[in-house]
């Protein structure tokens, strides 16, 4: 009401606007924690039911890499917990986090966070036909992704793009295909 209070508000605002803390940069997707626990378990199961070409594992005990690309960790550690002390046919499983296409390394499974929507084409191109690409975006499978998680009846379901699968160097077990929704895009 008074001019003095008005000045106080303005002061607070200037302070607020000028206040820029410097900190590490991280970014992730906001969904319920439970949803991502379930997705982490799914990614672990995918590692059991997908066959990669021989050259994906140079040695018998080369690690199977599950990558997550996004600015932060939507799984909040659930993925690390899901694969701890587990193996896929003698291959230990490791999790790698990338915050941009430039930082991306070679993975067997790559989970692409929603905040990477604009970079999706570049990511899919770099991932190549030997990576199981997984994501949440509505248009993920239309744009060339292999597996898309989607909600149905309050549960997590997934769909597989059969066209992309055929063109890839991966083989997905019939057991997994049976449970998936198939899209032919």
């Amino acid at each position: 009401m008074s001019k003095a209070r008005s000045k106080l508000f303005r002061g607070l605002l200037v302070a607020g606007v000028l206040f820029l803390a410097f900190s590490r940069v991280g970014m992730a997707d906001e969904r319920s924690a439970r949803e991502f626990q379930v997705k982490a378990a799914f990614l672990f199961h995918f590692s059991q039911f997908v066959e990669w070409p021989g050259e994906a594992f140079p040695r018998g005990d080369s690690p199977l890499v599950i990558g997550v690309i996004g600015r932060g960790d939507p799984f909040n550690g659930a993925l690390e917990r899901a694969v701890r002390d587990k193996r896929v046919a003698d291959h230990p499983i490791v999790i790698a986090h990338y915050d941009s296409v430039a930082a991306m390394g070679a993975c067997h499974i790559l989970f692409i966070c929603d905040d990477q929507a604009d970079a999706l084409d570049a990511i899919l191109q770099k991932a190549g036909s030997g990576t199981l690409t997984v994501g949440d975006l509505d248009s993920f499978t239309e744009r060339g992704g292999l597996v898309r998680f989607f909600p149905e009846d309050n549960k997590v379901r997934f769909e597989i793009n059969l066209e992309i699968l055929r063109r890839s160097r991966l083989h997905i077990s019939a057991k997994l295909l049976k449970l998936a929704k198939i899209v032919h895009e």
Binding site: S6, L13, D29, R31, R34, E35, P151
Partner: protein, 695 residues
């Protein structure tokens, strides 16, 4: 009078400041950005040493089939998909926000089918749902992140104060129709829920600048981490709006500036708890032209004024997943607004505490219940034209609600029933029950129906005030001054609503959502003309007292239909049409003035169509066409509005846009109810260029 060059210069300056601030911050922040993180799994200990309390333990132990049956609840009242909600719900997503070319939250609401959005002047909007639109449209509840922004002075929303860094909005959910059972009183004809993104989703630096012939904006937001589980963001935003066009073609005196800043912190504890803290503060300088009643022809004198409006809020929220099927949340907030109008000073402090628990009572009963306690304290400075008594008032609101979702046939038929009960210091005890049915015969079709009761609690104006409303000439030669008098017996307005809707998704690329409603209103605000009293001072005139009462009642009915069509993978069309009919009546003794005004402030027909086209991978073309029917009150002619914009993304984190709004018309009026002091002005054609850069 502002020259084009000054406007352009101001726009450039705003953009330059924003970019400079951003670059400065980025330079300092860059030192801390890590390079590729090595596989974190090896050396990161899980943040919780104990297994999650869900009881399901390690989900990887489940078979694939079992995993597909795990239910994933969210802790909000809306744990269902919009398409499974038995109500007329529309969601404006961040993608819709981005592609709409709209630059403010009130303008974004035009996208909602059936919502009535009219811009009165550069700083005021009349936004309503299913009728009764006005500057202080009182039958619409509006909330921002769970905080009510509805003001009890005139029972309305100050839309100039509702703003945010638009890319940081998560969504705007609009339910047309009564939402009183879950959201409480005043959610009579609609509920608008604006939610901002979690701090986890807004990391990094964002700089946005916009400059055009009518408005200039600059915003900076920085998001970072305090530790591995705690995310924060801070933002600052400045807006400048130029004058609209007055009736005589000159610049109206209604331009305004707004500065605001705020923060949000989200902390994730384990996999089942979150703490959120957020707050904002703003200051506005608003130009207005008030029409002062006078005793000589033309009986109103326009007076340009500059008003200062401030506000601040702080909110804390805790949510916890208790078991796989239950969650609880507790929220507290403080809100302050300070409106130093020249002819009325008003400040309001609000304290609110809210609790909510959601759980499965039995396998077929999904129960949600909660309680809310709110305390409000206001402070009014009277003037010659507006007198409130008492000038300070402490009010409280206590409410509880419960709602059960009964699964009659799994995945096919649900019955939902519930009620809210309230005790408030304006109208005492209120009860707002509702019953709904949701039938999904198959995946493509959903049918729902609802019966609900809602109330609109009285405002300070209706109970405690005397306002000089207008002066008019009389055949006798001396003028008459019409004053409205509130009375403490003014009761709440009541609604009984019958609604039904049908949603169909015949193909993957086409869907339709239709709603019909029939509303019965009682105890609507009206007025009784009292006997005129001769007053010799300050100039001889006759005083006509109008006592506000609840003497109007009636019905409204209408329909809304919206469709989405994905024509090709790169081209999407959405459209909607809505129709409204109002039949109001008055009790004997009540004048029909308000009745006629109400029936004429909402358009009978409205339609819109949007086209979203991805011309190339980096260029978007977004266009929208709106039609709004004429308004009898104020003799506002129908208008058609065409907006279009092009957005170019040369890099993944940079977006450049140019857009124009109201391309067809150079200026037009949208609203004039005559019920409030401020003068309506004409909405002009606007165009702007904007830049959005994220580090």
């Amino acid at each position: 009078m502002k020259t084009g060059r000054r406007k352009a210069a101001r726009g450039m300056l705003t953009l330059a400041c924003a970019v400079a601030a951003g670059l400065g911050a980025a330079h300092a922040a860059r030192a801390d950005i890590p390079t590729t993180q090595p596989a974190r799994g090896a050396n990161t200990q899980p943040s919780e040493a104990i297994a999650p309390k869900t009881g399901d333990g390690d989900l990887t132990a489940l078979s694939l089939e079992d995993l597909m049956n795990v239910e994933v609840y969210s802790a909000s009242k809306h744990s269902q998909k919009a398409s499974e909600t038995p109500a007329a719900i529309s969601v404006i997503t961040q993608d819709d926000i981005r592609r709409s070319n709209m630059t403010s939250i009130p303008e974004l609401l035009r996208l909602v089918p059936g919502l009535d959005v009219a811009q009165i002047n550069a700083n005021q909007w009349a936004i309503g749902s299913r009728g009764f639109n006005d500057l202080y449209s009182n039958k619409l509840l509006v909330m921002m992140d769970g905080r009510s922004v509805y003001t009890p002075l005139f029972s309305g929303v100050y839309w100039d104060t509702i703003d945010y860094v638009l890319p940081d909005l998560d969504r705007i959910e609009v339910i047309r129709g009564p939402g009183a059972t879950l959201w409480g009183a005043n959610a009579v004809d609609g509920v608008i829920n604006i939610t901002t993104k979690s701090a986890r989703d807004t990391q990094g630096l964002l700089v946005e600048g916009l400059g055009g012939n009518q408005e200039q904006q600059g915003a900076v937001r920085f998001g970072g981490k305090i530790d591995d589980d705690t995310y924060f963001r801070v933002y600052g935003k400045y807006r400048n709006y130029d004058d609209f066009v007055a009736g005589n073609g000159n610049d109206a005196h209604d331009g305004w500036q707004d500065v605001r800043s705020g923060f949000r912190v989200d902390r994730f504890v384990g996999s089942d708890q979150t703490f959120t803290f957020q707050g904002d503060v703003y200051n506005e300088r608003v130009g207005q032209t008030l029409s002062y009643p006078t005793f000589t022809p033309p009986y109103s004198s326009p007076r340009p004024v500059e008003n200062d409006f401030d506000g601040a809020n702080f909110l804390a929220r805790w949510k916890k997943q208790l078991t796989a099927t239950s969650d609880v949340s507790v929220q507290a907030y403080y809100d302050r607004i300070d409106r130093d109008d020249v002819e009325l000073g008003y400040s309001l402090d609000t304290f609110d505490l809210d609790f909510q628990h959601h759980f499965q009572l039995t396998q077929r009963n999904d129960l949600i219940y909660g309680a809310d306690a709110r305390f409000l304290r206001d402070d009014i400075r009277n003037s010659g034209f507006a007198t409130f008594s008492p000038t300070r008032r402490d009010d409280y609101l206590l409410s509880g609600f419960i709602q059960d979702d009964l699964t009659a046939i799994p995945d096919r038929l649900h019955f939902i029933a519930g009620t809210k009960i309230e005790q408030n210091s304006y109208s005492g005890f209120e009860i707002e029950p509702s019953a709904r049915v949701l039938w999904t015969p198959n995946e493509q079709n959903t049918i729902w129906g609802a019966v609900s009761r809602a109330v609109r609690t009285p405002s300070r104006w209706e109970q405690d005030s005397r306002l000089v409303f207008a002066t008019v000439p009389t055949p006798q030669g001396i003028p008459a001054q019409i004053d409205t008098f509130g009375n403490t017996n003014f009761n709440s307005e009541k609604l009984l609503a019958l609604e039904s809707g049908y949603r169909v998704k015949p193909t993957k690329t086409f869907s339709v959502d239709a709603t019909v409603f029939y509303n019965f209103y009682n105890d609507l605000r009206g007025g009784t003309d009292g006997a005129p009293i001769f007053m010799p001072t300050p100039a001889p005139h006759v005083l006509v007292p109008v006592a506000l009462n609840n003497g109007i009642f009636g019905e409204t009915f209408g329909a809304e239909i919206a469709a989405t069509w994905k024509v090709t993978p790169i081209w999407r069309l959405t459209g909607s049409y809505s129709w409204l009919d109002m039949q109001l009546h008055h009790l004997t003794g009540t004048a029909n003035t308000m009745e006629t005004i109400f029936e004429g402030t909402s358009p009978r027909n409205q339609a819109q169509i949007h086209s979203y086209l991805d011309i190339t991978k980096t260029v978007e073309l977004n266009a929208a066409l709106y039609y709004v029917d004429n308004l009898h009150t104020g003799h506002i002619p129908a208008y058609t509005r065409f907006d279009a914009g092009i957005t170019w993304r040369p890099r993944e984190n940079l977006a450049l846009s140019i857009a124009a709004q109201n391309i067809f018309s150079s200026q037009h009026y949208e609203f004039n109810s005559g019920l409030f002091f401020t003068a309506p002005t004409q909405v002009p054609r606007t165009y702007y260029a904007s830049l959005n850069y994220q580090f």
